[in-house]
Symmetry: C2
Subunit: 600 residues, 2 copies
């Protein structure tokens, strides 16, 4: 129906007759002439309707916001001084010859350029919201990102193989979405939390290099960056080791940023061990754009009088660390109080600090802090030396269980870094975090749980630790972090049945339970499994970052709310009793009611 | 770990040292030398292990079927006379220098080259089954097909936009798979039967050209070519009409066959109206490779004495048609009886026929049939003329409700065509079937139902028929048929709210019901919907045909059985009571038991 997209008509088309289709973005009447900004996916074009074509002009007068139009006209240069440098079509306008109203439109619930719309309004009227240029850009960027991935993976011999959506429930991960079976009364499918086991099976089956851009599901309480269904770029390869896999994936991410966003990521990505990441940044996904670092102080405060420090310093699971803020002595009392409140979110009970004043200045007396008197000279000296603190600096302290210290100071580092501009000035700082522990101890259930997942291979030489010292056993696991977000993670998998069984044992999964739940994996490992590994990237999150969006809901066409609802279609919704009966289930509530009413 | 894939080493690599990784496909010991056929995704390579490298040889002796090996060696030409023309690596062999056993393998449950395995065995040991070269080829072909689609659509400005998997139940289609909501007690999501409404909403939102290769779900009793979850190539575009859409899709299918299968489909695809397809072939997806055609005879037998013909001929919904089989007078009594049995599957009560014998031959007496005496001269003359029957031919007749005649003779046409070789000799015969009726009358519910779906636009000029004569109203709907299979179908959609409401009314969907179920669509149509349309192709079916496979299960990595089970992972399965409680449901069976036991 059209010859060009609106946004693609430019000075190269001057004097050509073009036909455009699109929406009336804006109509202005000016000096007896009607101007229509016609909008389509690619942008805007200005259409000029002169009254000397009366039939056409009459139609132009009928046009309201968001009417769908087909316009034929001649491209001409805009009068000098009326060009719009913000538009690719800003040098030209189209002198309208013919207009056809393809469809009328009621007044939209909001203007497309309206700011500050509530998310409820946006999601209820998602179709209108999706017309907004920013949303169009976001979804286009999402597509380009996914397609750049596919091209890279295709070029590198990966093949897309679909794995099932109706699969088996394995309750030890996150909560499953269940699907009742009609054919098998009382049984359920689960929607996949990831195609993990299937992709491993495909490696055992010899497919060598697999990928899939695939929906995964977790029925968890939602946070800002979570959705019940999310999209993973899921990858697995055989006969490659950790270094080779991460190198290839690094290449992929760089290619994708280059092709979809025209950004060159700094290469090579640094590699930090999990231990080092926690020690220096208190986080396994540190934002390396922030220049601040944590300093280890546990060993130097073991014997100080200040129990807040010496207590955790002498506890096996404790940590004492400092965070030096250069020039931080200028922080106001109010700012420091805000920091103290902030770390409480992470379980910290307080936030000790020392201001390093310049003793040579009038009214300045060196170290200034209520805690100084409880720290002996050696400790103070070590603190100053290790943090490298200078006159005018401030040092915050965390002293607690290591997890609390890391979470609190790690978050504080990032907050102050961004708010007070302790930044390298770079836009993108990717890094690999490697050498994760195999297990973490769950205090509640009193047992070891897998840090990554139970199919992750221990580091070479760490196999014996599986039994002798699970906490010291490191894994061939790796995460890709970017600007403080984890955007992907994976591992080399176990390819030997004996090792897999050992890991199950370490996790307290008995032989019988392992057979029931993962028998098909153990079987597969028996019949010639190749060395293999892979990873998964979170597409929603990557695109959110690329788009500079506030929420992953801004890069998903039809997202759910934080209460897991689709406001547009009103899902979930009630269903017919007949449907439930066919699925051999009933509602709990309903059953109770029936009991009362019918006396069952 | 490797330098090449096994299947890619060839005469060009002679004298090079290569490293290969793969599976021991076969080991032979011959003249004191061990031959290992090493297999990977790309094929086989013959590895020769000489005893003069004792360490390596000792390892080679340990190698059993399906062991995973890493081999380094020198490529050399095979001795004259031992080449294997069936292998791309058939001219060379690799003289083994080093061998590493990466993993051992238990004896597989079956040999990879074993034929006649039951589907149960294959699906239970799917990982081994997927190693079979045919399965590897099928899944590779599936990937190439999908990727060729993506490339074509990308080149034509289509963008992949993901639509939700957790969506709203709309019970009037096929049966939905339901997903209970934890957050909203008593409510359910449905897995999508297709992204139909979402893709239309994306057009209203201005995305112009959409596609998605996407899982869809139908909880129906399974037939040979159905799966609970199946994959659609789903496409929608704005501002294109029926002719433009089908032309572009034709181009896509040709491109895909060319790129994935190196096949040139004959273009342009013929276009048959639905009426003509039924009249000539008794099918809306005729196999045009078959040269046989039906002949319309309803009008010429209205006044014959043979009630079997004149009855249906005078019934508004009846049809009488002939199927001429050239040279068919040679069919034996037994063959004709088999045909009679065959058409009963389709509801035919019998199968009348006339043999056209050559009256000039001895013992031949012209038309031979028990029914001839009940047909008058004019009718017989017309039958011979219209069918073009010659001496030695046979004409089968169908006379019944039109549907029965079409189904029976349409199927018989195909059966005889293939069995008796009435074929054009072409491998592929695609065609478009167009101008479908909008509605068909459902005798059971006594109402009109949508032939395609309720969002399909009537033909231009047919809008008034929606109310005055729904049965005569044609739709802008089109199917792509190939060799007797429907491989895709779609339509131009309704883009005006008033027309959509009219169609809902014609279908007996009241205003209130329409608002509850499709309010979001009606709303969207209000706010400036562009003319739009699209279609969906069945990827599973297309690849099945391309692969020449017997079942779509042979082109799906992890399919379900016909009882909707995954024999590999044992899904569906029982789940914990705790999971059900969280989802606010209980099992019907369980409730009953509890009632007995606890006296609730």
């Amino acid at each position: 129906m059209r010859t060009h997209y609106c946004g693609q008509v430019n000075a190269g088309h001057i004097d050509q007759i073009v036909t455009l289709c699109g929406w009336n973005h804006r109509r202005r009447d000016h000096g007896g002439v009607i101007f229509i900004d016609l909008r389509d996916r690619e942008g805007l074009a200005q259409v000029v309707c002169d009254p000397d074509r009366p039939e056409m002009f009459k139609l132009a007068e009928e046009v309201r916001n968001e009417y769908v139009l087909k316009i034929t006209g001649k491209v001409r240069r805009r009068p000098a001084g009326t060009e719009n440098a913000n538009l690719s079509s800003g040098e030209i306008e189209i002198l309208c010859h013919e207009i056809e109203i393809l469809n009328a439109a009621a007044t939209p619930p909001f203007q497309l350029d309206e700011d500050n719309l509530s998310e409820n309004v946006r999601l209820t009227h998602r179709v209108i919201d999706l017309r907004r240029p920013q949303m169009q850009k976001n979804l286009m960027l999402r597509y380009k990102t996914a397609m750049a991935c596919r091209r890279f993976l295709d070029d590198h011999g990966f093949i897309d193989i679909e794995t099932p959506m109706l699969t088996k429930s394995t309750p030890e991960g996150a909560r499953d979405y269940l699907v009742p079976s009609r054919v098998h009364p009382g049984q359920f499918f689960a929607l996949p939390q990831s195609p993990q086991l299937f992709k491993q099976l495909l490696m055992v089956a010899g497919y060598d290099r697999y990928y899939q851009i695939v929906k995964c599901f977790r029925d968890e309480d939602l946070r800002a960056d979570r959705q019940p269904e999310f999209t993973q770029i899921d990858i697995e390869t055989s006969f490659m080791d950790e270094t080779q896999i991460t190198a290839m994936m690094e290449e992929m991410i760089c290619t994708v940023f280059r092709e979809a966003l025209a950004v060159e990521l700094p290469q090579p990505f640094p590699r930090l061990s999990h231990t080092e990441a926690m020690r220096r940044y208190g986080s396994d996904k540190p934002d390396l754009r922030v220049t601040l670092e944590l300093t280890e102080l546990t060993d130097v405060v073991k014997d100080v009088g200040f129990k807040v420090f010496s207590g955790p310093a002498n506890d096996a699971g404790g940590r004492v660390a400092g965070l030096r803020i250069p020039g931080g002595a200028q922080l106001t009392r109010g700012e420091i109080d805000a920091c103290t409140e902030f770390v409480k979110i992470y379980g910290a009970k307080g936030l000790a600090y020392i201001k390093v004043n310049d003793a040579s200045q009038p009214n300045e007396t060196g170290l200034q802090s209520p805690i100084v008197k409880n720290l002996h000279e050696t400790a103070l000296k070590a603190i100053l030396e290790r943090t490298g603190a200078q006159s005018g600096d401030l040092i915050f302290f965390g002293a607690d269980k290591a997890k609390v210290v890391n979470d609190a100071l790690g978050a504080l580092r990032s907050k102050i870094g961004h708010e007070k501009n302790y930044l390298t000035g770079e836009a993108w700082r990717p890094l690999w975090v490697v050498d994760f522990p195999m297990f973490e101890y769950d205090e509640e259930s009193k047992r070891w749980t897998a840090c990554h997942h139970p199919f992750t291979s221990p580091k070479d030489g760490h196999e014996d630790l599986l039994e002798s010292d699970p906490g010291a056993c490191l894994a061939k696991a790796y995460d890709l972090a970017l600007n403080g977000w984890e955007i992907g993670g994976g591992s080399v998998r176990i390819h030997r049945e004996a090792v897999q069984s050992k890991v199950f044992r370490a996790l307290g999964i008995g032989a019988e339970e392992a057979q029931t739940k993962f028998g098909f994996l153990l079987d597969a490992l028996k019949y010639g499994a190749p060395p293999h590994g892979g990873l998964a990237f979170g597409l929603d999150r990557i695109v959110t970052m690329m788009a500079g969006a506030e929420s992953i809901r801004d890069v998903i066409a039809f997202p759910k709310t934080q209460r897991a609802q689709c406001l547009l279609t009103d899902a979930p919704s009630d269903v017919d009793e007949k449907q439930l009966r066919e699925l051999h289930i009933r509602l709990r509530q309903k059953v109770d009611t029936q009991i009362e009413v019918k006396g069952e």
